[in-house]
């Protein structure tokens, strides 16, 4: 599906559009640039659904009173902020006409002297005033869930000379090419993020990637890590950067050619290790082919290869994984460990539009999942295993607290997703709020721990005909009869409002084959391929191995 980005700016943004068009994947994203200097007029026009917009303005170009302040006129802060409010309100209205709107914050014009030493003084300094303007803009837009602020200071840092006066006077282009290139990369990354296409798993090598030296040769005590050694500190810094990403929801894994016991011992016992075994969702430490190990680990964690970044100091291993698994992002990697953090943070593929509790605790969930698998291996039968799990699903209607996670699940789930509708928070709320519709979420736990909000089903009833519109389940809880519990819930909800039949229509994608299998396994009738029915005169049995709990109200 082709989507489009509309660029609205108070200056000539043609270089941005050029870089964006060349960076965007062929055919998936198109870009158009509105005539510059007509920001309010352009924001006032609808830009058609399914579009993104990027509003990049300079403070002096959009807030007239700030421009006067730059000319050292005396201006009242409240007048400046009133203009910011007006701009924000215009953006909020505009955001209703696009799926997602990205807005740049403001930076001081390059080379602007302001009040020099006094420029941060409240009530006088321009830097102080601009900071207040940015905060006001952020606060004003905080409730607009499809508006995201981007910081142009990051783009301007990419150039030693971010402003070219001649290009401004000749062509109304205020920034250097590197700035536009960086902005294009970040907007593309932001679009990936709101579409749920961020990278969610970083798989790292160990020797000379996570620490300096080869643990098999020098032992844990001989590794360069931390201490009074700039290389050791660089590896510590890299581990800290990885841990920071893990804290905000990105998972970590290891694929390394090593003796597993020796490597894990180093991870657990080295006094300067920042990452410990519990920080990793999984690992493959052996002498097998790394591409095979990456594929197996990703499969174990039930992620797609497109969610993965693979980091390895060895160019031959990188090339092997890159060629065998083209969906995995395998960046070129610097040979100097001092550059590792910068290289990691420069990838720009880890942004997400929502961070849920599930994201923050995912590593723990994977750890308990490992216990579950060990338990499954030891159980005599699958039936025993499922019985022993004591799975419980809390069923709840859509509410404000669950909406962010539900939005995330809608936009990230591929394998068990019957309709694969990609919806914003506002669209979900609007859809579920219409008459005849209901949307339920399932938060699953078992005796090993909490698996979080992992299931969604939605129903629409017209003339006693119920249609199961969404049937979404995180792959984390697939294969434990929750699929059938969800069908039970859907049929029950249909019966409760007097529906005579319930229909589910499977919409195939290249990744949701497991959904078709789950529907077929459910024993719903399939009168035509991909269309499933249930006669609501009879109830659909709830699987014995799943307990359903209704904390607020029954569906």
């Amino acid at each position: 599906m082709t989507r489009s980005l509309s660029v609205i700016s108070d200056f000539n943004a043609a270089p941005f559009a050029g870089y964006f068009a060349n960076t965007a994947r062929d055919g998936e994203l198109t870009v158009s640039v509105a005539p510059f200097g007509q920001v309010y007029q352009e924001l006032g026009q609808g830009h058609g659904k399914a579009n993104f917009s990027f509003v990049w303005t300079r403070a002096e170009g959009i807030v007239a009173s700030f421009n006067r302040a730059l000319e050292m006129h005396s201006v009242r802060e409240q007048d400046v902020l009133a203009e910011v409010d007006f701009f924000a309100d215009t953006l909020i209205k505009h955001a209703g006409s696009v799926d997602h709107c990205f807005v740049s914050t403001w930076v001081m014009p390059p080379s602007q002297l302001g009040y020099g030493l006094l420029d941060w003084r409240p009530g006088l300094g321009l830097k102080n005033l601009l900071a207040r303007m940015n905060l006001r803009l952020a606060e004003r837009l905080a409730d607009s869930t499809n508006v995201y602020l981007l910081d142009p200071a990051v783009w301007l840092q990419k150039s030693a000379n971010p402003a070219t006066a001649k290009m401004w006077y000749v062509a109304k282009i205020p920034y250097a090419n590197e700035c536009f290139e960086a902005a294009a990369a970040q907007v593309l990354s932001a679009i990936d993020a709101v579409n749920g296409q961020s990278r969610r798993l970083i798989i790292v090598d160990l020797d000379d990637t996570l620490w300096g030296g080869i643990v098999g040769d020098v032992g844990a005590e001989g590794l360069r890590l931390g201490g009074h050694d700039h290389i050791g500190e660089a590896f510590s810094g890299f581990q800290s950067a990885l841990k920071a990403l893990a804290r905000r929801g990105t998972q970590l894994g290891i694929v390394s050619k090593n003796e597993e016991s020796r490597a894990l011992a180093a991870i657990e016992t080295h006094p300067e290790m920042i990452l410990r075994q519990s920080d990793f969702a999984g690992w493959r430490i052996n002498w097998q082919d790394k591409a095979q190990n990456v594929a197996e680990l990703v499969d174990e964690l039930r992620l797609g290869l497109g969610s993965v970044v693979f980091l390895d100091d060895n160019p031959a291993e990188r090339e092997r994984v890159r060629s065998a698994l083209p969906d995995v992002l395998v960046p070129d990697w610097p040979s100097d460990p001092c550059k590792y953090v910068h290289a990691l943070q420069g990838l720009g593929v880890f942004d997400v539009s929502v961070i849920s509790d599930e994201d923050l605790h995912r590593t723990e969930m994977y750890a308990t999942d490992r216990e579950r698998r060990i338990n499954a291996d030891m159980s005599e039968s699958m039936g025993d295993y499922l019985q022993n799990l004591s799975t419980e699903a809390v069923v709840a209607p859509l509410d404000a607290a669950s909406l962010p996670r539900i939005t995330q699940l809608f936009n990230k789930t591929n394998q068990l997703n019957m309709s694969t509708r990609r919806l914003t928070k506002d669209e979900i709320e609007a859809w579920a709020g219409a008459p005849g519709r209901s949307l339920l979420s399932l938060s699953v736990s078992d005796r090993f721990g909490d698996l979080g909000l992992t299931g969604i089903l939605s129903l629409e009833v017209r003339d006693k005909q119920a249609v199961l519109v969404d049937y979404v389940l995180s792959c984390r809880v697939m294969g434990r009869k929750i699929e059938e519990a969800m069908v039970h819930l859907a049929v029950q909800a249909a019966r409760d409002v007097g529906a005579t039949t319930m229909t589910a229509r499977y919409i195939a994608t290249d990744r949701n084959g497991p959904t078709l299998q789950a529907l077929r396994d459910s024993k719903l009738a399939e009168p035509e391929e991909g269309v499933f029915n249930w006669d609501c005169a009879k109830s659909y049995p709830k699987p014995d191995t799943v307990s359903l709990v209704y904390p607020t109200q029954a569906p």
């Binding site: 559009a17 001649k166 000749v170 282009i173």
Partner: protein, 99 residues
């Protein structure tokens, strides 16, 4: 003072940066005979100005001399003049020698 080859290198570097913001059909070939202005030229006015400003800055950074290509172009009276990359090299050399 740089040689013609140095100048050609600077122009090609600048053209490579410019090509990064242009579609494959709009990109200019890195050859001395490439036409920049006039019949057969692929650059629109914005592309041309961007390229010339980049070259001006690079010449100043790498050779320490100033040239004013944009001003020269805008002051050209003969609108049907054709500028190739080789012409640009000659123009810059002349400006640098005169300064």
């Amino acid at each position: 003072m740089g040689t013609s080859d140095d100048l050609l290198g600077i122009i090609f570097e600048s053209a490579t940066i410019l090509n990064g913001q242009r579609t494959p059909e709009q990109r200019i070939a890195l050859e001395a005979t490439t036409v920049l202005v006039g019949d057969g030229g692929r650059l629109d006015s914005l592309g041309l100005v961007s390229l010339l400003v980049m070259i001006e800055e690079a010449v100043e950074d790498k050779m320490g001399g100033e040239c004013s290509l944009v001003d020269t172009l805008f002051n050209e009276n003969s609108e049907d003049r054709i500028w190739t990359i080789a012409d640009l090299v000659e123009n810059i050399s002349n400006e640098l020698e005169a300064s």
